[in-house]
């Protein structure tokens, strides 16, 4: 297993080497960090849906679409990347995805331990310190190889991450707050920013535990040539603009099990916009924009009643019914169901609920 310790590299190179290795039929571990910041989209994400291009253009922030999974990330030199390329038939490779992730996160966990930071694997694919995420990750298949990519956050500017999102100001503000509360960095844990070279050394020790045959290498002519050939294709505007997944509502994953969503629904001749932070399917935070469908302080009252509840809790309909009795004509059950669960209720349940109070939702 070849180890490419590249240090600080040109921003696109921090993605191109691991895309080139499998195309040469070669395994490898790549450690690097980008010399300048950029945004990186997951394989199936839709650029126009996810990103405010004008914001990026104003800031001179370049974009890259990787061929592995995960979501949009802001990447910069305060992150040490580890990228693993293994043949899909390599002996000992876990078949079960969660175990695969755990195996390839272990070197990063060990590296953090070297600095006295006790991280643990949070399935399926995060490293957490306490209740905060400290490593971003993605994975996938390129040619006959499996690729696992991740980073250790030395520091992380949440404002830079949310700035380019194609979302409302309220959503960005809430996303920044949720990230600040639920992400951590080595700087935050240690009280200082560690030397990236020392972090790389710790990662090398960790990957040495995983791959007994790990040996230092420098990119050879074939690898450099393939990397440059890929540059043209992976930086092509057409590749970046490839249409992809457009979720039914704006959503950002803060960490495993923690999602911030902006959901919209038409109700009582108006639009209701809800900002919803869900942790493991439970309403952690909920707020509504002012709407004629939520008169007076009814939105605040409803949000307060719903906080702490599982969105699939059957009791929600009764909570809504009690609330609605005080606000005839306000948000119906069908719309609230759509806002919380992201889908309309079964026909019988929705119709019955609205009939029960003699109102159409």
């Amino acid at each position: 297993m070849e180890l490419y310790r590249l240090g600080e590299v040109e921003w696109a190179d921090s993605q191109l080497f691991y895309h080139a290795l499998p195309r040469l039929g070669r395994e490898g571990v790549v450690l690097c960090r980008p010399a300048s910041p950029y945004l990186c989209l997951g394989y199936h994400q839709d650029l126009a849906w996810e990103v405010d291009r004008e914001y990026c253009d104003r800031r001179g922030l370049p974009l890259f679409r990787r061929e592995v999974g995960g979501g949009l990330v802001y990447l910069d030199r305060q992150q040490v990347f580890f990228q693993v390329v293994v043949h899909r038939h390599r002996p000992g490779l876990p078949a079960r995805r969660e175990e695969f992730y755990r195996r390839f996160l272990e070197p990063a966990r060990l590296a953090l331990a070297e600095f006295g930071i006790a991280a643990r694997h949070r399935p399926p694919c995060d490293l957490w310190v306490g209740e905060r995420k400290i490593s971003g990750n993605g994975a996938g298949e390129i040619e006959d190889h499996y690729v696992f990519v991740g980073n250790l956050l030395l520091d992380f500017p949440v404002e830079e991450m949310v700035g380019p999102l194609r979302a409302s100001a309220a959503f960005k503000e809430r996303a920044a707050a949720a990230m600040a509360a639920n992400l951590t960095t080595m700087r935050r844990e240690l009280g200082f920013t560690p030397d990236p070279a020392a972090v790389e050394e710790a990662l090398i020790a960790g990957f040495g535990e995983l791959f007994a045959d790990l040996s230092p290498a420098v990119p050879d002519a074939a690898l450099l040539a393939r990397k440059e050939a890929l540059r043209e294709r992976l930086l092509d505007p057409g590749w970046l603009a490839e249409p992809g997944r457009r979720p039914a509502h704006r959503e950002v994953k803060i960490a495993e099990g923690l999602y911030l969503s902006e959901r919209r629904v038409a109700a009582a001749g108006a639009e209701v916009v809800a900002l919803l932070l869900l942790r493991e399917g439970r309403v952690e935070e909920l707020s509504f924009e002012p709407s004629p469908a939520l008169p007076g302080d009814s939105g605040h009252r409803l949000a307060r009643k719903l906080r702490g509840r599982q969105v699939e809790d059957p009791e929600l309909e009764n909570i809504w019914s009690t609330w609605r009795a005080g606000y005839p004509g306000a948000l119906g059950w069908r719309q609230l169901h759509q806002l919380l669960r992201g889908r309309p209720p079964e026909k019988e349940a929705g119709a019955g609920a609205d009939r029960a109070v003699g109102l159409s939702g």
Binding site: V68, P94, A95, R96, E99, C125, G140, R245
Partner: protein
């Protein structure tokens, strides 16, 4: 046929990318196996080949995302795509729930034999594959 906790209908053929193929004359339907759907996690998105696209046996023809993983879909044989499961755009988790039913991926008109394994041969291949992973080996032994 059942291997551990996973079902593999005997009337289907399989490939080494954990895909199944239902062959009805030259019209072949493709999906992912119960094993693949179970071990990959919840499917979030499926990118299918367009109708009319020419497939080359063994070459990638689409992709599937589950969790943070993006895997490829492969053409089981040469041919031309005749239909895709458009319902997966709204409900990709049908692949997890009903991998041999509502979670089918695409149908194509086959123009060659492809490189497929019948159920018994697939069982031998999968046994060897699972032997690489102690956790899955334990699950397969039920």
């Amino acid at each position: 046929m059942r291997i551990g906790q996973w079902d593999f209908p005997d009337d289907l053929a399989y490939d080494t990318h954990h895909q199944w193929v239902r062959r009805e004359e030259a019209s072949w339907t493709v999906g992912t196996t119960h094993y693949s759907a179970d071990t990959a996690g919840d499917v979030l998105y499926v990118e299918l080949p367009a109708v009319g696209v020419r497939l080359k046996a063994g070459e990638p023809c689409g992709s599937i995302e589950s969790g943070k993983w993006v895997g490829k879909l492969y053409a089981p044989a040469d041919g031309v795509v005749t239909a895709v499961n458009g319902a997966l755009a709204e409900d990709p988790r049908a692949v997890n729930r009903e991998p041999y039913g509502a979670g089918w991926l695409f149908t194509f008109r086959a123009e060659g034999p492809g490189d497929l394994l019948e159920a018994a041969a697939f069982r031998r291949w999968l046994d060897a594959e699972l032997a690489r992973d102690p956790l899955c080996r334990a699950a397969a032994q039920g």
